[in-house]
């Protein structure tokens, strides 16, 4: 670990020695100085997701939280340009006033962290690139970033992209920044594509008889021209009483039999087309004689909030894993998970949230092997206090690691920004 150094810049520093640059020039000055002194820094926003990823080995901490505020919002052009650490809540609010939204449905990681809502900032969110339930339909966070400005590891202010959806001018660095965990640039400005909010929504609940049926539903749902915008499977977890109680509480809705396993899918749009789509889907899924429930908009909206708040894993002290695999392999994985871990499935069969009891930590290795074999990957999103990082929390192969090191080198040759946050050497 580097020793503390004296920084000449007149940048506000609090009693914990955290730097708070107030604009991109100050970020640039600070990083340039750190670069010259070979002294790395951790980059944080509002600290809502700083628990995700490895601990950085840096002597300094730079908070970008003062770089906040909406710069330019053009509802008719479907974009919003904001300073990097603008809280997601603030963006949501202003978009909502114009019946628009961030379509990728940001996940609120505050609940798993300490049981309270904290969506954090857009820069933090982009740095993780973890989209919510609507992802399989509308794309991830990276698909909604039109451009950015930021400071690379040498202190240079750089930009890429713009405000238009069609733009192939130079390399698409916005994609590279998404999911880079602050290891390439300290973001100062982000332009996002926004989309109209749908008028209404309804959620249909099905109670499947077996695993084969779950994936049969998922397959039919994703193959239908009657578009859905969310599909989850919430299993019954009778072998873990404590979890079971929590789960049943989270999904307590008037029109939902929460104590058994269920598949839920969401249909959004105007009221007439919602009914039309639900009717089509009932036929396609052959549900006409099945036991189903329907959540109206007043239940549907909070239901999906609970999903995207990861409320069933609220304040978890175990290891929480996010695994993404091609949906065709989901049935095998859910069979394995059934008797081993608490979990639920999102993204119409692709995304698994899995809680691994800290006493069963060695199981993470098995899960990672499965993720690889199934053509996917996993990340340990939250680690238990006993986690020893023996098993890396990210999944990467040798070639991708080698290329990642080269890319890192091109942005941040002295590894000043969040070193080691993702991989050793990056």
């Amino acid at each position: 670990m580097s020793t503390k150094i004296k920084i000449n810049s007149q940048i506000f520093q609090d009693s914990n020695n955290v730097y708070y640059p107030k604009d991109e020039v100050e970020v640039s000055d600070l990083i340039r100085e750190l670069y010259e002194q070979d002294s790395p820094t951790e980059i944080i926003g509002n600290n809502s997701k700083s628990f995700i990823g490895n601990k950085t080995q840096s002597a300094n901490t730079t908070s970008l939280s003062k770089i906040s505020g909406i710069i330019d919002y053009r509802p008719e052009e479907l974009y919003i340009k904001v300073k990097a650490c603008t809280p997601i809540n603030e963006i949501d609010k202003v978009l909502s006033e114009n019946s628009q939204e961030l379509a990728f449905e940001p996940i609120d990681f505050g609940y798993i962290k300490d049981g309270k809502s904290n969506k954090g900032t857009i820069a933090g969110y982009l740095s993780c690139n973890y989209a919510g339930s609507r992802r399989f339909k509308v794309g991830s966070v990276r698909d909604h970033v039109l451009g950015f400005k930021g400071v690379n590891g040498k202190g240079d202010i750089i930009k890429s992209g713009g405000t238009v959806v069609k733009n192939v001018t130079g390399y698409d660095l916005s994609k590279l920044i998404a999911g880079s965990f602050g290891t390439l640039v300290a973001l100062t400005e982000i332009t996002l594509k926004v989309l109209p909010k749908k008028d209404s929504s309804k959620t249909v609940i099905i109670y499947p008889d077996n695993f084969e049926q779950i994936y049969d539903f998922f397959n039919k749902l994703s193959s239908s021209s009657s578009e859905i915008s969310g599909a989850v499977f919430i299993p019954e977890q009778s072998n873990d009483k404590e979890f079971s109680v929590k789960r049943n509480n989270v999904f307590k809705f008037n029109d939902l039999k929460s104590k058994v396993s269920f598949v839920a899918f969401r249909v959004e749009g105007d009221k007439i087309s919602i009914e039309e789509k639900i009717n089509n889907l009932k036929k396609e899924l052959e549900l006409n004689n099945s036991d189903i429930s329907t959540l109206d908009v007043y239940q549907s909206e909070p239901f999906w909030k609970k999903i995207n708040n990861l409320e069933v894993f609220e304040k978890t002290e175990h290891n929480l894993i996010r695994m993404v695999i091609p949906p065709a392999n989901g049935s095998k994985l859910s069979k394995y998970l059934e008797n081993n871990h608490n979990y639920f499935i999102d993204w119409c069969g692709s995304l698994f949230w899995i809680e691994v009891n800290s006493k069963k930590e060695e199981k993470i290795k098995d899960l990672k092997k499965m993720a690889n074999d199934f053509g996917g990957y996993l990340t340990v999103i939250k680690t238990s206090s006993e986690y020893d990082y023996g098993e890396p929390i990210f999944t990467v192969d040798k070639v991708r690691l080698m290329i990642s090191e080269k890319v890192k080198q091109s942005f941040d040759p002295k590894r000043i920004l969040n070193p080691g946050k993702m991989y050793r050497g990056v």
Partner: protein, 498 residues
């Protein structure tokens, strides 16, 4: 076109041509290596045919291992390589270099796997964009990005250029519709980014490769997402008495919360040109024509059509026709799709520009282009992907007249500068290639460009892969005073300048 600055020719490579051809013939079937003048001629240009160059040799490998071996050989011998898909690119990205081999991916023309369960198709890069849709449409699926050249352009080329099409606002461009790529780096390393699952963890290297115009690697396999064909697709053909009213209607459609599958605008010059050419039945009295396409379930489309109709009437449309059959819908598009040949029939040559602007700036942009057309005394017709802000002015000229050529180039360049001034970009979907290299300085400052060059250097340190494309050649940029060069020393002397 005017004299083109290209990377310095390495004469030692030219002198070793026969040895290089011999060695390449050991790495693939010798029939796949072309080196005679008449064999090379078809590869002298891509669809930006005003520029031509004869490559040192053309190699047409048949599999990824051959690509890897060829690149490894070129890397060790310092031979430049220009990758080429179907050669339909409009910005000269596949223009050969005299001392480079042209690596054609034409033999990579097979679809490897159709996976309906995972809603994806694994394909070789030489398969055409439309070929993918054709392979899955019997099951009611399609591949969404639809560049106008989709009949001929290859999916590998689409990845290199991040191609769009008329449905980009709703369905995104190539980068939003691919799940994975296999790629070979200049040193021969074979790598795989993504696969059949969403959002690979770590750096989004697939996102970096998509749109990198063949500068970072050679794509040898692509996994694309397929979508279910919508139940109902209908189009509206709407004429407006002025550009402003039509432009306002397009903006209002978007701000009212409608996301059309496609929305196209044509100006008067193009309405007349296309109607003469294809007899599409367009309203010839209109100053501006708007085509709006809506898709979804039946009731959804009905509701959207109703809203679009109301907005257009409110904005004083002069005519409004709704498609009542698939045949009629296609007839609405027939004229728009014939825009390029229609201009080709009006003048010996046409030059297609490709800028993006914020939708709301359309009237301003068209007015400016009209002024420029008068200044340069060259006719122009405009089509505009109003959904996503992508503007394609078509400048008509006579290529045999050197003065007209020069004026056309200047005119085009001024149009793109106007796009940037209005808050847009110099290329929406055709790529920078060699055509717009020098205009990169209009959008990016020295730091921005150096960062991009630095990425290039990190993945291709010898600058052998498609050199001379995308990034400004130092001399021109410096002359224009946009890159600060002091006493002939630039800020990053260790970085290559291509």
């Amino acid at each position: 076109m005017s004299e083109l600055a290209l990377p310095k020719i390495d004469n030692s490579i030219l002198n070793r041509k026969s040895e290089i051809v011999k060695n390449l013939s050991k790495l693939t079937d010798k029939e796949n290596v072309l080196s005679e003048a008449d064999e090379l001629r078809p590869y002298e240009t891509d669809a930006l045919s005003v520029y031509t160059q004869t490559p040192l040799a053309v190699v047409l490998p048949e599999n990824t291992d051959e690509v890897s071996e060829i690149l490894k050989y070129c890397y060790s011998e310092n031979i430049k390589v220009v990758p080429r898909g179907a050669g339909t690119g409009l910005s000269g990205g596949a223009l050969p270099l005299q001392d480079a081999i042209l690596l054609g991916l034409g033999k990579f023309n097979k679809i490897l796997e159709i996976d309906y369960k995972n809603k994806c198709v694994v394909t070789q890069p030489g398969v055409t964009n439309l070929g993918i849709t054709h392979a899955v449409q019997h099951k009611g699926f399609y591949y969404a990005p639809d560049p106008s050249s989709q009949l001929a352009c290859s999916i590998g080329g689409n990845v290199a250029e991040n191609s769009g099409g008329v449905h980009s606002l709703k369905y995104g461009t190539t980068t939003n519709n691919i799940l994975g790529v296999q790629m070979v780096m200049m040193d021969g390393t074979i790598c795989r980014f993504g696969g059949k699952s969403f959002d690979q963890e770590g750096y989004d290297l697939m996102g970096l490769i998509c749109g990198s115009e063949g500068l970072l690697g050679v794509v040898t396999e692509v996994t694309v997402k397929i979508l279910k064909t919508p139940d109902v697709v209908r189009a509206a053909l709407i004429g407006f008495p002025s550009i402003k009213e039509g432009g306002d209607a397009a903006s209002e459609i978007i701000s009212s919360g409608i996301v059309p599958a496609g929305m196209e605008i044509m100006d008067k010059a193009l309405i007349e040109a296309t109607d003469n050419f294809s007899k599409a039945g367009y309203p010839r009295d209109a100053e501006l024509l708007l085509i709006v396409e809506l898709d979804g379930t039946e009731s959804e489309v009905d509701e959207l059509i109703r809203k679009v109709e109301a907005i257009c009437k409110k904005n004083n449309c002069s005519s409004l026709k709704l498609s009542n059959s698939e045949k009629e819908r296609l007839s609405f598009w027939a004229g728009r799709k014939a825009a390029f040949p229609a201009c080709g029939a009006m003048a010996p040559d046409y030059y297609c520009m490709d800028g993006s602007i914020p939708r709301g700036k359309l009237a301003e942009a068209l007015l400016e282009i009209k002024k420029l057309s008068e200044k340069y005394e060259l006719p122009v017709a405009n089509c505009f992907h109003a959904g996503d802000g992508n503007l394609h002015p078509l400048i008509m000229f006579d290529g045999n007249d050197k003065e007209q050529l020069r004026k056309t180039e200047e005119f085009g360049s001024e149009i793109l500068k106007t796009c940037v001034r209005l808050g847009g970009v110099i290329t929406g979907e055709h790529g920078v290639g060699i055509e717009k290299r020098e205009l990169m300085c209009e959008m990016f400052n020295d730091n921005d460009i150096q960062q991009q060059l630095s990425i290039k250097k990190s993945l291709d340190e010898k600058n052998l892969l498609n050199p001379g494309k995308v990034y400004p050649i130092l001399r021109k940029c410096a002359e224009e005073g946009r890159v600060h060069v002091h006493k002939n020393k630039d800020k990053f002397p260790d970085l290559p300048r291509f």
